[in-house]
Amino acid sequence: MNRSACAAMAILISMVAAATPAQAALRVLATTPEWAALTRELGGDKVDVYAATSAFQDVHRVDAKPSLVARARNADMVVAAGADLEVGWLPILLRESGNARIQPGNPGYFEADASLRLLEIPTAVDRSMGDVHPQGNPHAHLDARNVAIVAAALTARLKAVDGADAPYYEARGSDFQARWKAALARWEAQAAPLKGMPVVVIHRDQVYLCRWLGLIEVAAIEPKPGVPPSSSYLAELVTRLTATPPKLILRNAYNDSKAVDWLSARIHVPVVLLPYSVGGTPGAKDLFGLFDDTINRLTGVTK
């Protein structure tokens, strides 16, 4: 073997050994900002959470970047949305991580959607239907009631993974549930006037929000999930929506504004920008902020 190559490798290994941080908190890699925020709420200073994506990214389409492989390598736990939302990149991260703790089937692998009853579970799947998810619509966090269910499951899991701190997680979990319950009552009261309001969405990722608040999705700008609209489809949409105009067009932080602005100008219906996840708007600083801001924006436009 080449001597210089050996020397180079020895130097690298010793550099790495020197740079290895001392282990302290439970290291969690969360795939999405909302579940990262929930893990922070529940884990407090016992967890060190890294969010693999931001609210400005489409979680369907993310690269298995080197930085994420490195985080997966060091994670004690992965918190994913599941239901195939991350199918294009998470399997690679897990396989490349060389980390047995976070492989599916182990306590260190948590899927939020696994504890929920998902909507829109197709009876048959075919790619001609667009980017459909065989296990149901995975964008479940926007029904705030689901957050409480996932929180209970995640608290139980944190206790299982980090048994030494179980009482701490138990206490934080109960505290969160109490605060969330109060917030839920507040949001539902504030959003009462929204019930029955017709809205247009881009992708079918507002289904849970609409169902929770009683908004009625009358049209989607994507003709099929993940399929961009053609001009003829948009023209048809304009005709249809001019006849029966919706109240609002919903746009997520990560969506392009072009199609919604175009539609808005033609049917004279305002666009409301929603954070979609934590960090999507300046107001959506944490999970409470996410729903405060979402409902403020929805009710603000309709006033």
Binding site: A8, L12, V16, A70, R73, G88, A100, D143, I149, K159
Partner: protein, 468 residues
């Protein structure tokens, strides 16, 4: 709403109508009409019953809260997820994905005469392929976790010439400690960047010239790879590979034991929320024994040359990807470059019908490519690539000792082949791609080959996950 019921009713009506057309007594007609009416009312009743049941179920579903929040889930139990493959024994079927690829090529120069000047021929994976329509390569991949400890992957390639080959067939460990993983079987070597990438994920129809010249396309190992990921937030990956080393530039060795090894190191990270990168350095050493190739002498006579000796290759690779806030839905840019340098040291044999000679041989050859691909709209991308090779000035003992003229080694005459490629592709969805590529290919040095290629790539089956 109930197409099958409607279809049945229509069939019944048509059948009865046909019967009625036949000469018949009035009593028969009225009897048939009575039967038809009975059928109709029967179906209507059934449809009404089904509709009311559906409405009832819909009300029930709407009335149920999203899930029972009251009961706290038990401490860890593997999450029950609905079986993917229809349940039963099929639930354990591996993920199956099929890539269909094909193309149409219009080439100025005869592809049978294709060669990369100054480099020893590296086998089948060289050149632009056939003229006209070509089925290209269809790829079948089966992959699944074997158990909690191993992941298995088989990728078979079906060529347009009706041959079936195993591209990759490997096991990879999932449960080794300390960031270690072991891969064994046949796999694409992890050296460089593009070597591990399957052909359907390339940004151009073909491989860079330097990969064609030095590896005959892609280097596959029949062996094992041990990889270690450093426990740092900076991505640092070190790997060592060894195997039979029988693929070009190595050859099968006529004794027990391994042929050569590869050492790889990759580093990567993000720079802000819009840029991510990876860079690496790899080293490959293999032995070749009687690696033969046909050549022509000064006078046009056919000879068989053969290299025996050590082949060492260095690869430096770098890739950078950009998209606004990491959201590649609208726009993205990818820039990648690799530099490869090979030193071969040993004996070169020269065998014609008249004589068989052998003397020392030493050559240092290198090449690089630089390519950029810009996605300017959600479904549209264009890219450009520049290839450059330098065959160096080989020290051929038979020439240096004035036994033979350099002109007797036509394939080894010093040369600097190059190529320019432009690419444009349209991606109706994540699973389909149509590509147009135009190439100015100066690999032969004496003639410029302009190549126009149209390619399609379709993916069916399991959702593929691509490496960075």
């Amino acid at each position: 709403m109930f197409p099958f019921l409607r279809a049945n009713t229509l069939c019944g009506v048509a059948f009865i109508a046909l019967l009625a057309m036949a000469p018949a007594h009035a009593s028969e007609v009225s009897e048939l009409r009575a039967q038809l009416d009975a059928l109709k009312s029967d179906y209507q009743a059934k449809i009404q019953a089904l509709e009311s049941r559906l409405a009832q179920l819909e009300r029930q579903v709407a009335a149920t809260p999203p899930a029972a929040a009251a009961a706290e889930p038990p401490p860890f139990a593997p999450a029950p997820s609905p079986p993917a493959g229809g349940g039963g024994a099929n639930a354990f079927n591996p993920a199956i994905s099929v890539i269909l690829g094909g193309r149409f090529a219009q080439l100025d120069a005869d592809p049978a005469s294709y060669r990369i000047a100054g480099f020893m021929p590296a086998g089948d994976g060289v050149g632009p392929g056939r003229r006209g329509f070509d089925l290209g390569e269809s790829e079948l991949t089966l992959a699944a976790n074997v158990d909690p400890y191993f992941f298995a992957n088989l990728t078979a390639s079906l060529s347009g010439e009706d041959t079936l080959s195993v591209e990759e067939a490997y096991l990879k460990t999932l449960a080794l400690p300390s960031g270690l993983s072991l891969k064994a079987g046949r796999f694409f070597s992890g050296l460089g960047y593009l070597n591990e990438v399957h052909s359907h994920a390339w940004d151009f129809v073909d491989q860079p010239l330097v990969y064609q010249a030095l590896f005959g396309g892609q280097l596959a190992q029949n062996g094992a790879q041990l990889k270690w990921l450093a426990p740092t937030d900076l991505f640092i990956e070190l790997a060592a590979e060894t195997g039979n080393g029988e693929r070009f530039p190595g050859t099968h060795l006529a004794h027990n034991g391994l042929n050569g090894a590869a050492l790889l190191a990759h580093v990567g990270d993000d720079a802000g929320d819009s840029v991510s990168w990876r860079a690496g350095l790899s080293w490959l050493s293999q032995r070749a024994e009687n690696r033969a190739f046909a050549d022509v002498t000064d006078t046009g006579g056919a000879v068989l040359d053969a290299f025996t000796g050590q082949s060492r290759t260095w690869v430096a690779d770098a890739i950078l990807k950009w998209s606004p806030h990491g959201n590649a839905n609208l726009r993205s840019f990818k820039l990648q470059a690799e530099y490869l340098q090979r030193t071969e040291d040993g004996q070169l044999a020269f065998a014609s019908t008249q004589q068989a000679l052998s003397d020392s041989y030493r050559a240092r050859q290198s090449g690089w490519y630089l390519q950029g691909v810009y996605q300017f709209l959600p479904r549209w991308r264009f890219g450009a690539r520049y290839d450059s090779l330098d065959s160096g000035d080989p020290a051929i003992g038979l020439v240096q000792h004035a036994v033979l003229p350099l002109a007797d080694f036509g394939a080894l005459a010093p040369a600097t082949p190059s190529r320019v490629s432009a690419m444009f592709d349209w991606n109706p969805s994540e699973f389909s791609r149509l590509r147009l590529q135009y190439v100015w290919d100066d690999a032969r040095m004496d003639v410029r080959d302009r190549q126009l290629m149209l390619q399609y790539l379709f993916s069916i089956g399991a959702h593929g996950a691509h490496k960075f």
